[in-house]
């Protein structure tokens, strides 16, 4: 589904991604771990099409297409979803408006009829139940005044409504209380299927207790330094990142 080859990207003159290689197949869940500042969010953003990091080399193929050639919104309509590490507040744009516009943009792109208000509301209310969210959230502005945890939950609500092919979750677990973590994990797991893939960026094993990854990668200093199975995450939890290739010695603090 996704094939990243020797991907390099810089912010300004500063190289952040220094040759990422990663293959993600349909049905797989990959966990991406690594110390603060190692480039996890930069990678996620580059995949979603954010332009504040400039791609300086390498390639990304998504479902046979050159991903880097697609505009941000085209990537989204092609089924890429990024759950933001820091979801943005957008006063004046209703949550429900965004959800509907997003879903219909995607349906249109796929040649499906747009949903009318009734069908859409029925769908969204169903998904809100799954996410154990209060319906009043629908009628508030996007993320405005939401607590940290509510914002993360709202990201996953968008995800379960949009049903992406490739979901990239950037630290969706950070800032969630224990119950919320379960709800969010439940939402994520509800989307797991043989034709979907996920990349979970996380610092903590706890998320991986709920969403079992097939692979775990350690990103450090702009490169994937190690890859392995779920056991690698447990090892990191015990030992931190001190052993990882580069000089960084920031450890991981258990939640």
């Amino acid at each position: 589904m996704l094939s990243i080859k020797n991907l390099q990207a810089s912010v300004g003159d500063k190289p952040i991604l220094k040759g990422i290689n990663l293959d993600v197949k349909a049905g797989e869940v990959h966990a991406l771990m690594g110390p603060n500042g190692s480039g996890k969010s930069t990678l996620s953003n580059v995949l979603a099409g954010r332009e504040n990091a400039t791609v300086t080399g390498g390639s990304v193929t998504y479902q046979g297409k050159d991903l880097l050639a697609l505009a941000v919104e085209e990537r989204a309509r092609e089924g890429i979803f990024l759950a933001f590490q820091y979801p943005v507040e957008i006063p004046g744009v209703g949550n429900v408006y965004l959800l509907k516009a997003a879903l219909n943009a995607q349906r249109k792109h796929r040649g499906l009829p747009e949903l009318d208000a009734m069908d859409f509301l029925a769908l969204v209310k169903d998904k809100m139940k799954l996410m154990e969210m209060n319906e009043s959230m629908l009628y508030r502005a996007v993320n405005e005044g939401f607590s940290g945890g509510e914002k993360k939950r709202n990201e996953i609500l968008q995800m379960v409504v949009l049903e992406p092919n490739l979901a990239i979750l950037d630290e969706t677990d950070s800032g969630l209380d224990i119950d919320a973590l379960k709800v969010v994990s439940h939402g994520v797991n509800s989307l797991r299927s043989p034709d979907r893939a996920m990349i979970l960026v996380t610092h903590y094993q706890r998320l991986l207790d709920y969403i079992k990854p097939d692979f775990v990668h350690v990103l450090s200093d702009g490169r994937i330094q190690r890859s392995g199975g779920p056991e690698l995450a447990l090892e990191l939890e015990r030992e931190g990142y001190a052993w990882v290739g580069d000089a960084t010695n920031e450890g991981v603090v258990a939640p």
Binding site: G92, V93, A102
Partner: protein, 432 residues
């Protein structure tokens, strides 16, 4: 003398001759003399530093002299259909009894027209209009050239739920219109006035109205003005309000189109516990200009003012915001907020924003803030990352920026209507 002034003079002379009463003639003469003494506003004057009238100067515009000059067949593009009962329609400055609907107003609301007033009443009207006309040279010009005036009084205790609509149409090209509105609200009365300034011509026009407001104790007035005139319209307007104890005034002013707009707004809180809200939006197209000069005067203790203007500028659009807040020495316990936020959508757009705080009392809470910025890249990216087209995402963010002002309109019907105007191309029913 520039062509504009030459035509104004010709019109003044014609009108003064037509005027039956000696007093009225004298009054027009006095205003004309004052206008001449003030001189044509140029950018050499501090108040007009960033607002050049060079476009207006070149125009030779006719004035309407007949207060009831009837215009048959108001063009269908005018929004009269959508405006229900309680509407006053003026076309090119002349009152249109046949287009207006004022027969269903409650008893406590009285409308009188300048042209129907007796000499004594005219004198009172003129006296009450004076502070508004004193605000700018265009106010004096209005006093000399005005075609018709309406005097709206709401009796004590009378509160009107349905809004009263004041529709000012610039229908004919190469015309100017000068009108006057006097609004007096009695104790504990309430009114929502929705002012539509619309244009129906691609030719140049000039609309120059003055509005004077007096609020008795605990009166509540909401004034919602929307400027939506043609591309080549010039709009100058002066508003002056006097607020007595515990009165509540909310002024919303939306300048959404036109070549040049200049609004001078002065709100005076002259007795304790009066409150005013002054909010507005200016959307400035390429090469256009909108200028708001506002002044809130706290002359009495325990009053509150809340002011916020937001601007969106495109191309080489220009905007001026001058927000004066004066707190007199004995206006203790004043609470005053002011902000002005601008969104520049192009490198060539320009905004001159100046808060002007003159605070003489010491026990006050006053704040002000100004921002000038571009569209938020992160918000833009977020919307696109959800599949929203780049253009639509941009439009949504621009609207969101201005909608906040409309949300504050208390009357739900008017609020929805203005929201719709601000949403423009994005269908309202998309809001689900």
């Amino acid at each position: 003398m520039n062509p504009f002034l030459a035509q104004c003079r010709a019109s003044f002379e014609a009108q003064a001759t037509l005027e039956a009463g000696v007093a009225e003639r004298g009054q027009r003469q006095a205003e004309w003399t004052r206008f001449e003494a003030l001189g044509w506003p140029t950018t050499r004057l501090e108040d007009w530093k960033y607002t050049t009238l060079s476009g207006l100067e070149k125009l030779s515009l006719q004035n309407s002299v007949e207060p009831r000059e009837e215009v048959k067949g108001v063009p269908p593009s005018l929004p009269l259909e959508g405006i229900p009962a309680n509407r006053l329609v003026f076309v090119d400055g002349a009152f249109q009894p046949n287009q207006s609907m004022i027969d269903r107003l409650p008893e406590g609301v009285r409308l009188r027209f300048w042209s129907d007033l007796d000499a004594q009443e005219r004198e009172r009207f003129t006296h009450k209009m004076a502070p508004a006309r004193a605000l700018t040279a265009f106010g004096a010009l209005n006093g000399a050239l005005f075609t018709e005036g309406v005097w709206i009084t709401v009796d004590a205790g009378c509160a009107l739920e349905a809004p009263l609509h004041l529709v000012k149409v610039s229908r004919t090209g190469q015309r100017m219109s000068h009108g006057a509105v006097l609004l007096e609200l009695g104790e504990n009365s309430g009114l929502t006035l929705r002012e539509h300034c619309v244009g129906n011509t691609d030719q140049p026009t000039h609309s120059n109205w003055v509005t004077a407001i007096e609020l008795a104790p605990r009166a509540r007035l909401t004034l919602v003005k929307v400027q939506q005139e043609g591309l080549l319209s010039y709009h100058t307007a002066a508003l002056h309000a006097l607020q007595r104890a515990g009165s509540h005034l909310q002024v919303f002013s939306f300048a959404l189109s036109g070549a040049l707009g200049r609004n001078d707004i002065t709100l005076r809180l002259i007795e304790p516990h009066a409150e005013c809200v002054l909010k507005g939006v200016y959307r400035v197209a390429d090469r256009a200009l909108q200028d708001f000069h506002t002044s809130i005067e706290h002359d009495s203790p325990h009053c509150t003012s809340d002011e916020c203007f937001k601007g969106v500028l495109e191309g080489s659009g220009k905007a001026v915001f001058n927000g004066r807040v004066r707190v007199a020495l004995d206006a203790q316990k004043t609470s005053s907020r002011q902000s002005n936020h601008n969104l520049l959508l192009s490198d060539k757009a320009e905004v001159n924003t100046k808060p002007q705080l003159e605070i003489f009392a010491d026990d006050v809470k006053c704040s002000h803030g100004t921002t000038v910025g571009q569209l938020d890249e992160e918000q833009w990216f977020y919307l696109r990352a959800r599949g929203i087209a780049a253009d639509l995402a941009r439009t949504l963010l621009i609207q969101a920026f201005t909608l906040e002002i409309a949300e504050a309109i208390p009357h739900v019907g008017v609020r929805e209507e203005v929201r719709h105007l601000l949403s423009g191309t994005v269908e309202e029913n998309d809001h689900v």
